[in-house]
C-alpha cells in the first residue's frame, strides 16, 4: 500500500484489509497489528520548534503509538462495530438497564455548536442559552418527581447516589446527629447501594425481603434505631415490583429521624404516572441514560441528576443556577457550603441536551404513555411465559420488567447462563442473569416501551421454544452456545488469572514458558 504521511492515498489498495473472517462476520486484528508509528490519518503541518519553553521536560522515552490512515481507521472501526449487539440491531431485554430506543434528534441537537462548542468556564453572559436549558431540564425533573430541588452535576447513577448520600450525611451532621452510622439496604438492592454507603463510612444493615419480593414495613421498623442515618430503597424495586408499603416505610423512616434515599434506576416505569415526592422520598437519582433515552454508548457516559426534598435542598452541591436581574447566573461557590462540588465544571451537558429533547418530544402525556407501555410490555411477556418459566413473585402485577427464576431448569442440565447464551444464537441479547441476588438463578427481562407486539411475540416464541427444548433434554443447544456469534464462550477464568490488559509488541513479550 502506498500512502503519504498524512494518510492520503497515493496508489491502489489503500483501504488495507489484512483481516480474515467469513462472510459478514469480520475477524479484526488489533489496530497495533494494522498500523505503524509512521502513518497518520490527520493532516497537520510540521512546525519548526527552534526553541521550546519546556524547561528540559521534553519527552525522551518512546511513544510507540500505532497510527492508521483514514480509510484504514474507517474500516477498522466499522468492522469492529459489527461484532456488537445493539438496540438498533435487535431486542436488548437487559433487566434494570433500560435499553430503550435512542431517538436521533437527541444526537442532532447535542451537536449544535451552541451546545457542543461552548466551554464550561467562558463568561456566564455568553452561555445564557445553556443555563436556560439546564433550568428547563431541572423544571422537568422536579415537576415529574414533585421535589424541591435538583443537583444536575453527577456523572452517572452511582455518582448521583454518592451525592445523594453525601447530602444525607451532611444533613444528619447539621442536625447534630453525626453518630448515625448505619444505612439500611434491602437485600434486593443494586450493588452500587451498599458500595456507596460503605464508601461514606456507613455500615450496611440488610433488610430481608418478604416472600412476595417486597419490603415489609415491619422489617424496616425493626431495623430502625437512633443509629440509622438512612434507608436506600429502589422503587420500583429490582424484582420489578412497586413497593406497596413505600409510603408507610417513608413515614417510619422519617419518624426515626432518618432519610429516605430512593434509587431511581427504575423511574422509567412510573414517570408521569407516580411522583416519588408524593411517596416521601428525600433524595433520588435519575439515570438520564435509562429513563430519558440518552444512549448507553457501550458503557457510558451516563448522567445521574439527583432530586432533593425540602429537607435536603440546602445541602445541594455547587454548581446551581440562580435567576438574577439580567438573566441566569451560575453559582459555583458557596461559603460554608456543606457539600462543595462532586465534579469539575457543571456535569453532563451533552446528556442534558439529549434528555430535554426527549422530554419535549414526548411531553408529559408521552412520558406517561412510555411508562405505561413499558409496564404493559413486561406484563405481556410475563403472562405469555409464566406457564413455562417459574415466576418467583406472582402476587403483584409486575412493573417494567418480568422476573423469572431458574427452577424450571432444575434437572435439565442447563444452567441459567447456558440458557442465556442460547438466546444469543436466536438473535437476542440475553436478559439480566443472577440479579437480583434475592432470587436464585434470576432472569430479569426488561422489554421497554420500544418493542412492538410482533417483536414481543417472537421473543416469547423463542423463549418458549428454548424452555421446551431444555426440558426435553436437548442440552447441546445450550451448553455449546453460542455457536453463531463472532466468538464462542470466552475463558473468563484465564483472563482473571493471567491478566493481559494491553497489547505488547511480540518481540517485547517474555519468552513463553512452554
Amino acid at each position: 500500500m502506498s500512502m503519504n504521511n498524512q494518510g492520503r492515498p497515493t496508489g491502489v489498495g489503500t483501504a488495507g484489509t489484512i483481516a480474515s473472517g467469513s462472510a459478514l462476520l469480520p475477524d479484526e486484528p488489533l489496530l497495533f497489528e494494522i498500523g505503524d508509528t509512521e502513518h497518520s490519518g490527520v493532516d497537520l503541518p510540521e512546525v519548526d520548534l527552534a526553541e521550546d519553553r519546556l524547561g528540559g521536560f521534553a519527552r525522551k522515552s518512546k511513544l510507540d503509538l500505532a497510527g492508521l490512515t483514514e480509510p484504514e481507521a474507517m474500516r477498522h472501526y466499522v468492522r469492529l462495530s459489527r461484532l456488537n449487539h445493539s438496540i438498533d440491531s435487535g431486542m436488548y431485554p437487559l433487566g434494570s438497564c433500560t435499553m430503550k430506543h435512542n431517538p436521533r434528534l437527541n444526537e442532532k441537537m447535542a451537536r449544535l455548536p451552541g451546545f457542543s462548542d461552548i466551554h464550561p468556564l467562558q463568561p456566564v453572559s455568553t452561555v445564557q442559552g445553556a443555563l436556560e436549558l439546564m433550568n428547563q431540564l431541572s423544571h422537568w425533573l422536579m415537576t415529574l418527581t414533585n421535589t424541591a430541588a435538583v443537583a444536575l452535576s453527577p456523572k452517572a447513577g452511582a455518582h448521583g447516589e454518592l451525592l445523594g448520600m453525601m447530602a444525607i450525611k451532611a444533613a444528619q451532621e447539621a442536625k447534630g446527629e453525626a453518630h448515625r452510622k448505619i444505612v439500611l439496604v434491602p437485600e434486593s438492592a443494586h450493588g452500587t447501594n451498599p458500595a456507596t454507603a460503605a464508601f461514606l463510612g456507613y455500615s450496611v444493615k440488610p433488610v430481608p425481603a418478604r416472600d412476595d419480593g417486597t419490603v415489609d414495613v415491619e422489617a424496616v421498623k425493626a431495623a430502625l434505631s437512633p443509629e440509622v442515618a438512612a434507608i436506600m430503597l429502589t422503587n420500583p424495586n429490582t424484582c420489578g415490583l412497586f413497593e406497596p408499603q413505600v409510603i408507610e416505610i417513608a413515614r417510619a423512616v422519617h419518624e426515626a429521624g432518618a432519610f429516605f434515599y430512593c434509587d431511581g434506576a427504575n423511574f422509567n416505569a412510573i414517570m408521569g404516572v407516580v411522583r416519588p415526592g408524593d411517596l416521601g422520598i428525600d433524595a433520588m437519582h435519575i439515570n438520564l441514560h435509562k429513563t430519558f433515552s440518552t444512549p448507553h454508548g457501550g458503557g457510558g457516559p451516563g448522567a445521574g441528576p439527583v432530586v432533593l426534598s425540602e429537607a435536603l435542598a440546602p445541602f445541594a452541591p455547587v454548581p446551581f443556577i440562580k435567576r438574577v436581574q439580567d438573566g441566569l447566573d451560575l453559582v459555583e461557590h458557596v461559603e460554608e457550603q456543606a457539600l462543595g462540588r462532586v465534579t469539575a465544571f457543571h456535569g453532563q451537558m451533552g446528556m442534558y441536551v439529549r434528555a430535554l429533547t426527549y422530554m419535549l418530544s414526548h411531553g408529559a402525556d408521552g412520558l406517561a404513555q412510555a411508562a405505561e407501555d413499558a409496564v404493559l410490555n413486561a406484563n405481556y411477556i410475563k403472562a405469555r411465559l409464566e406457564h413455562l418459566f417459574s415466576v418467583p413473585f406472582p402476587d403483584y402485577p409486575t412493573m417494567h420488567e418480568a422476573l423469572f427464576d431458574d427452577s424450571f431448569l432444575k434437572g435439565t442440565g442447563v444452567s441459567t447462563l447456558d440458557f442465556a447464551k442460547a438466546m444469543i444464537d436466536e438473535g437476542f441479547h440475553p436478559m439480566t442473569m443472577y440479579f437480583p441476588l434475592v432470587v436464585h438463578g434470576a432472569m430479569l427481562v426488561e422489554p421497554t416501551e420500544s418493542e412492538s407486539k410482533q417483536t414481543l411475540d417472537r421473543f416469547c416464541d423463542v423463549m418458549a421454544d428454548l424452555a421446551s427444548d431444555a426440558k426435553a433434554g436437548n442440552t447441546e443447544r445450550f451448553t455449546a452456545a453460542p455457536m453463531k456469534a463472532p466468538r464462542r464462550r470466552l475463558d473468563e477464568t484465564r483472563a482473571a488469572r493471567q491478566p493481559v490488559l494491553k497489547w505488547e509488541r511480540p518481540d517485547d513479550l517474555p519468552q513463553a514458558a512452554e
Binding site: 511513544l63 492508521l68 412510573i270 444512549p295 462532586v342 469539575a344 456535569g347 491478566p499
Partner: protein, 434 residues
C-alpha cells in the same frame, strides 16, 4: 395484550401503587411536540450561546478546544457503538471490548505506565479515586495536594474526603512555586501533582517521585491537557505511581463541561486496587483470541460494600472517540499536534509579553499560561467577551476571594489558534488596558 394479561385496563397493572399517589396530579409541563418544533426550541437556546468557533478563543483551564477529525464523529454515531450496553455478554460485544483493550494500550503508552483502566467519569473524579486508591495501597492516610492542582479537582477530592484531617491542600501557586516536598512524611500515602499545572507551569516530577518514594509515599500525577503528553516526558518514565488525566482533548468536544473522559493508569502491581472496569485478553472455546471484562471481583456488582469504588458506568463512548482520534493521529500525528500547540502557545506568550500592563508569569509551559494584568481579571475578561473575544479564565472565578489571584487570567492556545486570533486579542487588550 391486556386480554392475554387478564387485566381490564392499564391502571390495573399499577394496582400496587397506593391510590393517593397514582396519577393524582396535573403536571405543569407541555404535551408532546413534533420534531420540527422541538428542534426550533433547542436551536433557539443554542443560538443564545457564544460558540468557541464564533471568534478568537483562548479558554482552557481543564477543558480544551481542539480539532476533531470528521471521521471520529461519524464512527461514534454508528448504532453498534452508540446503542450498545456495557459488554457483559462478551460473545456479542467483541467490538466494544477490543476497542477498550486498544484504548487501555494507548493510555498506557502515552502515560508511560504498565496498565490503564477502561476509563472513569472525568479527570476530577478520577483524581479523587486515585487518592483513595493510594490510601488502600499504602495503608497510610496523609494526602497532599499541590497548589498547582486545578481548584475544581481539589474541591472534588475535598468532597470525597470530607473533613478529613489528613488531607493537606497547599495554597494556590500561580508563580509555579512549590513546597510540596517538605510536606512528605512517614504517614504520607500520596502527593498529588498536576503538570502542566493549573497555571500552565511544568512541574518537576522526577524530584517529586524520588522524595515521595523515599518516605514510602506514592506520586499521583494529574494531567488535564492530555495533548501535552505528545511533547512532554511520560509521567511513568519519571517515577509516577498513578497517572490520572482528563482525556477530553482527544476526540471529545467541549460540551460545556461534559461528558468528558477520565483516564487512569498505574503500575502492574497495583491493578487489583484500581477502580473502574478493565478489559483483558483471553481465548474462546475454539481457541480464538477474544476479550472480556476482567478482575470484576474489585467491583460493586460483585463485592457490594467491599468494592474498590461504587463506580458502575464509565465513559465508553468518549473512550471510543478518544481511541479513534488517537489511532488517526498515531505517534507521528500526536507528536505533530503537540508541537503545533506548543508553537502557537509560544507565539501567544511572546505577543502578550509585549502588551503594556500585561506580565506573563510562566517561564515554562506547554499550551497554557497565566498573565497578570493591570486591572482585575474578571471585569477585563467580561469586557473582552463583549468585543467577541473569549480571552481565557480569570483565576478568581475558581478561587474567589483570594486577592493574590484577582488580576490573573489563564489562557490557552491550541492548534486552532491563528495569528489573527492572537492579533485581535493583543489589540483589544491594548485598548482595554490603555
Amino acid at each position: 395484550m391486556l386480554g392475554v394479561i387478564g387485566a381490564p385496563d392499564i391502571d390495573a397493572l399499577f394496582s400496587a401503587v397506593p391510590k393517593p399517589a397514582l396519577k393524582n396530579f396535573s403536571l405543569d409541563l407541555p404535551a408532546h411536540s413534533p420534531e420540527f418544533l422541538v428542534e426550533a426550541h433547542m436551536r433557539a437556546l443554542a443560538g443564545r450561546n457564544h460558540a468557541a468557533g464564533d471568534g478568537p478563543f483562548f479558554v482552557g483551564a481543564g477543558a480544551y478546544r481542539h480539532h476533531i477529525p470528521a471521521t471520529v464523529d461519524h464512527l461514534i454515531q454508528r448504532s453498534e457503538w452508540l446503542t450498545a450496553y456495557t459488554p457483559y455478554q462478551p460473545e456479542i460485544s467483541q467490538g466494544t471490548l477490543q476497542m477498550l483493550f486498544e484504548f487501555q494500550t494507548q493510555v498506557a503508552k502515552i502515560t508511560g505506565m504498565d496498565v490503564a483502566n477502561a476509563s472513569l467519569y472525568d479527570g476530577s473524579t478520577g483524581t479523587a479515586e486515585a487518592v483513595l486508591m493510594a490510601r488502600r495501597l499504602t495503608r497510610k492516610n496523609k494526602i497532599v495536594l499541590s497548589g498547582g492542582l486545578h481548584p475544581h479537582y481539589r474541591d472534588v477530592v475535598k468532597a470525597y474526603l470530607k473533613d478529613d484531617p489528613d488531607l493537606v491542600c497547599l495554597s494556590p501557586s500561580p508563580e509555579g512555586q512549590g513546597d510540596i516536598l517538605e510536606q512528605i512524611d512517614g504517614n504520607t500515602a500520596a502527593i498529588v501533582i498536576q503538570t502542566p499545572d493549573f497555571y500552565g507551569h511544568l512541574r518537576d516530577l522526577k524530584s517529586a517521585a524520588d522524595a515521595a518514594h523515599a518516605q514510602g509515599a506514592l506520586l499521583i500525577v494529574v494531567v488535564t491537557e492530555v495533548v501535552s503528553l505528545g511533547l512532554l516526558e511520560a509521567p511513568g518514565a519519571l517515577g509516577a505511581d498513578i497517572v490520572v488525566a482528563e482525556g477530553q482533548s482527544i476526540g471529545n468536544a467541549l460540551n460545556f463541561g461534559g461528558p468528558y473522559l477520565g483516564l487512569m493508569a498505574t503500575r502492574r502491581d497495583f491493578i487489583r486496587q484500581m477502580p473502574g472496569r478493565l478489559c483483558g485478553e483471553t481465548v474462546d472455546a475454539d481457541g480464538n483470541r477474544g476479550f472480556v471484562l476482567t478482575l470484576s471481583t474489585r467491583e460493586q456488582h460483585i463485592r457490594r460494600e467491599k468494592a474498590t469504588s461504587n463506580i458502575c458506568t464509565n465513559s465508553g463512548l468518549c473512550a471510543l472517540a478518544f481511541s479513534i482520534h488517537m489511532a488517526l493521529l498515531g505517534e507521528a500525528g500526536f507528536t505533530r499536534l503537540a508541537r503545533l500547540n506548543h508553537a502557537n502557545a509560544i507565539r501567544l506568550a511572546d505577543a502578550l509579553a509585549g502588551v503594556p500592563g500585561v506580565e506573563v508569569l510562566n517561564k515554562t509551559f506547554f499550551n497554557e499560561m497565566t498573565i497578570r494584568t493591570a486591572q482585575p481579571a474578571a471585569g477585563l475578561v467580561e469586557r473582552l467577551a463583549r468585543r467577541g473575544i473569549l480571552a481565557g479564565v480569570p483565576a478568581s472565578r475558581l478561587l474567589p476571594g483570594d486577592p493574590e489571584v484577582e488580576n490573573l487570567i489563564i489562557l490557552a492556545a491550541t492548534e486552532l489558534t491563528t495569528e489573527a486570533d492572537i492579533a485581535a486579542l493583543v489589540a483589544a487588550l491594548m485598548e482595554e488596558l490603555a
